[in-house]
């Protein structure tokens, strides 16, 4: 008994230790658009005459960003890497400790914990962050991200990391920005390589094209047989033969095209993938660098109108105004049950609104008094003026500052209202809807 127990415990320990010694390299994952590309576009190809391997999208990303354990600090990026990349390494360490389990190793919002969370953690890879102080078309600045990390997001699972030191907060923010930049470059290169899509739908459509071309050729040949020597019919047959050749060669044309593009040769001379990496990197860097020094922030020109019954009343009128359209989404009582939540977006099979990450999005229920982006009046001002990036909350630059402050005062008063803030009978609306209860347990 004794010896057997010893044998079992030794054997199992050995097995476990063996597992540890094997190097489990974590990897960044690629986005769906990348996965659906042709193999050459993704992974490059080996030249037949034995030259060096020609790079594809994944090779560039690997070279310019590295893996989670072997990072690459690409100097062109507007990231504070620190001396010899120390800042990035520290940021990565903190990220893996505190953030990775929700936000994922690649910043894809799909970490091990994410499946239990609603709303989902942010996927950084589109470079879109919701609660910012910058203009609608601009990236967040460092302060916006630091604020989110420091204070957390009330109403969601994003906790506050107030206990991080300044240096730690700075380095983890830089790592998050670095992950976002990587994701954005990947998406831009996906767009540049969109000709080389190899998803099932695309391959099926190529097969359909070949079948249709063959059919059309047979039909044209039959017609020509009936009247031999007719030049018009002969031309038809020639044209249909051309079309069939084109359809059958479509895949080979693309194969040749993608190789030329990756080699920066032929029609693509000076404009191949390598140049596109540089060009798109410059573009992305430009957009992020535009806000690093506090530019393009939303700063009210008029000082805050203090809250008062008159201001709240004016705000309420604006909120209910059919031309400003707050109630379209937020509903006339601000419960987030406006008519847009029941209408179908283009191409959607479910009613309601969807955010830029493709997830269903409920307009904010303003009666709860929970404001994810911050509850200071300036925060609400920024949501109204700048919209919320990545969501259907649009910006509004046409309202005057005083009007926005009135709206802010009204919004802040909604949770304190004793009754519904509606001025007309629900049944007077000119659209049809059934009177379902607002789903207050949603996002």
């Amino acid at each position: 008994m004794n010896a057997r127990m010893k044998l079992i415990s030794t054997a199992s320990t050995a097995l476990l230790l063996a597992g540890c010694l094997a190097n489990s390299d974590t990897e960044f994952v690629y986005q769906t658009q990348t996965d659906e590309l042709m193999k050459e576009a993704k992974k490059g190809f080996k030249q037949p005459d034995g030259g060096d391997k020609v790079w594809g999208l994944e090779n560039y990303l690997l070279d310019l960003f590295g893996t989670p354990n072997d990072l690459v600090a690409w100097k062109r990026l507007p990231v504070d890497f620190g001396a010899a990349g120390n800042n990035l390494a520290q940021g990565r360490k903190l990220y893996m400790e505190h953030c990775m389990h929700c936000h994922g190793v690649s910043g894809d919002g799909d970490g091990p914990t994410a499946r239990y969370l609603k709303p989902l953690p942010r996927d950084y890879r589109k470079g879109l962050f919701k609660f910012t102080s910058t203009l609608a078309s601009d990236k967040p600045n460092r302060d916006d991200l630091k604020r989110t990390i420091k204070l957390g997001i009330p109403g969601t699972y994003m906790p506050s990391f107030m206990l991080l030191t300044d240096s730690e907060l700075h380095s983890v923010t830089e790592y998050v920005r670095w992950l976002a930049l990587r994701g954005e470059l990947e998406l831009k290169l996906d767009a540049e390589l969109s000709d080389y899509d190899n998803s099932d739908a695309v391959r099926q459509s190529r097969r359909d094209d070949i079948a249709a071309a063959k059919k059309a050729l047979t039909a044209a040949e039959k017609e020509a047989e009936k009247k031999p020597g007719d030049p018009a019919l002969k031309a038809e047959v020639a044209a249909k033969q051309e079309a069939r050749k084109r359809a059958e060669n479509a895949k080979e044309t693309l194969d040749k095209d993608v190789r030329q593009f990756l080699l920066s040769q032929g029609d693509s001379a000076e404009d191949g993938l390598r140049e596109k990496v540089d060009e798109n990197a410059d573009f992305i860097v430009g957009r992020w660098a535009r806000v690093t020094d506090g530019q393009n922030r939303i700063v009210p020109l008029a000082p805050r109108t203090p809250s008062s019954p008159e201001s709240i009343n004016r705000g309420r009128r604006l909120f209910l105004d059919n031309e400003i359209k707050c109630l379209e989404c937020h509903g006339d009582t601000g419960q987030g049950n406006g008519p847009q939540t029941r209408s179908y977006a283009e191409g959607a099979d479910k009613p309601g609104l969807f955010d830029d990450w493709g997830h269903p999005q409920k307009p904010r229920n303003l009666t709860t008094g929970i404001y994810r982006g911050g509850r200071r009046p300036i925060d609400i001002y920024r949501r109204i003026r700048g919209g919320i990036k990545g969501t259907k909350m649009p910006p509004n630059i046409k309202l005057k500052d005083q009007q926005v402050w009135d709206l802010v005062n009204y919004v802040l008063s909604i949770p304190l209202n004793e009754g519904p803030a509606v001025t007309q009978n629900k049944h007077d609306h000119d659209h049809d809807h059934d009177h379902k209860q607002a789903d207050a347990s949603g996002e």
């Binding site: 690459v72 390494a89 031309e323």
Partner: protein, 309 residues
């Protein structure tokens, strides 16, 4: 008490405890790639592509370098017709679901086929780059006008140059919110655009194919815009015909050096889903001969006309 039974239990418990401790220690060892792992950082100027030196950042912001035609003697132009083949599907009118006092039902512009010659309107045709030796046209000074009235965008399809000013007008009796969903350029969102007002923007980068412009308040509103860095493109008119590079100042179109080219042909109803899926034809070859006008006919088979947009 040291009975035989208790001593064997002690031994078993002892071995079990030892085993569990070893298991836990083994678990600690597995943190070699977790949080405490010290990642290495390599500083890099730019990609070191094998077989070549590390390239300097291109820096020219993607200016139009032109492509080399396969032969270069003399110039010609390209004209053509996009012809619908088969039974033309009849599209139901677009029926606005709100603000119906101003937003009236109207014809669906997703597929407009001319009954006389089966020509398809609003098909985008273009070559990817300005050919070397072909004229480099500058960005027009005149702004492009993009309007909306009765909850419909006008025009439904528009070709613009990168950096060309676009005036987004709301000539309607209701407020709109105009959004352009871009891939390679900065996205545009007009924000709440009150009735009878306007705003402006310009695309800062070219796109690979046309992109969609929508209104957040009126989900049925859709238009397509295509910003390019050159003008060697065209949009078919009501007769389905196009002249490559034509403009109000230059109805004969732009001249291309003689040679072989590839034309991209795109229409919103030639597929569904993202714009990259809606090509009618990719890399349609055509040849330009000196001092001649090449005329091609592009078939638009009925099976390609997608109804689910």
């Amino acid at each position: 008490m040291n009975t035989p039974l208790s001593s064997s239990i002690t031994v078993k418990l002892g071995s079990l405890l030892a085993g569990v401790t070893l298991l836990m220690l083994a678990g600690c060892g597995a943190e070699s790639t977790g949080a405490s792992y010290k990642a290495t950082v390599t500083m890099r100027d730019s990609a070191i592509v094998p077989g070549g030196d590390s390239s300097e950042p291109n820096g020219n912001g993607g200016t139009d370098n032109g492509q080399t035609p396969t032969t270069a003697s003399g110039f010609g132009t390209l004209t053509g017709l996009v012809k619908f083949v088969g039974t033309v599907p009849v599209l139901a009118d677009v029926a606005p679901s709100k603000q119906t006092d101003i937003c009236k039902p109207h014809k669906d512009e997703a597929l407009i086929v001319n009954p006389e010659n089966q020509g398809v309107q609003n098909v985008f045709v273009w070559i990817k780059k300005r050919p070397k030796g072909a004229e480099a046209t500058s960005v027009p000074n005149a702004p492009a006008l993009f309007d909306q009235q009765f909850c419909q965008f006008k025009p439904h399809a528009q070709l613009v140059r990168v950096e060309q000013k676009i005036i987004v007008k709301n000539s309607d009796g209701v407020a709109h919110n105009t959004k352009a969903s871009t891939f390679l350029s900065t996205p545009f969102d007009s924000g709440g655009l009150p009735k009878l007002s306007e705003t402006e923007f310009a695309y800062d980068n070219a796109e690979k194919q046309p992109i969609v412009v929508t209104c957040s308040f009126h989900g049925w509103m859709k238009a397509w815009q295509f910003p390019l860095k050159h003008s060697y493109a065209a949009l078919t008119g009501a007769d389905g015909r196009f002249v490559l590079g034509a403009s109000p100042d230059n109805p004969d179109g732009l001249k291309l050096p003689a040679g072989n080219y590839k034309l991209q042909v795109w229409h919103e109803s030639a597929g569904s889903g993202p714009p990259s899926n809606r090509y009618l034809e990719k890399n349609r070859t055509f040849t330009i001969t000196a001092n001649e006008t090449t005329d091609i006919t592009i078939d638009y088979p009925a099976r390609k006309a997608s109804q689910t947009n």
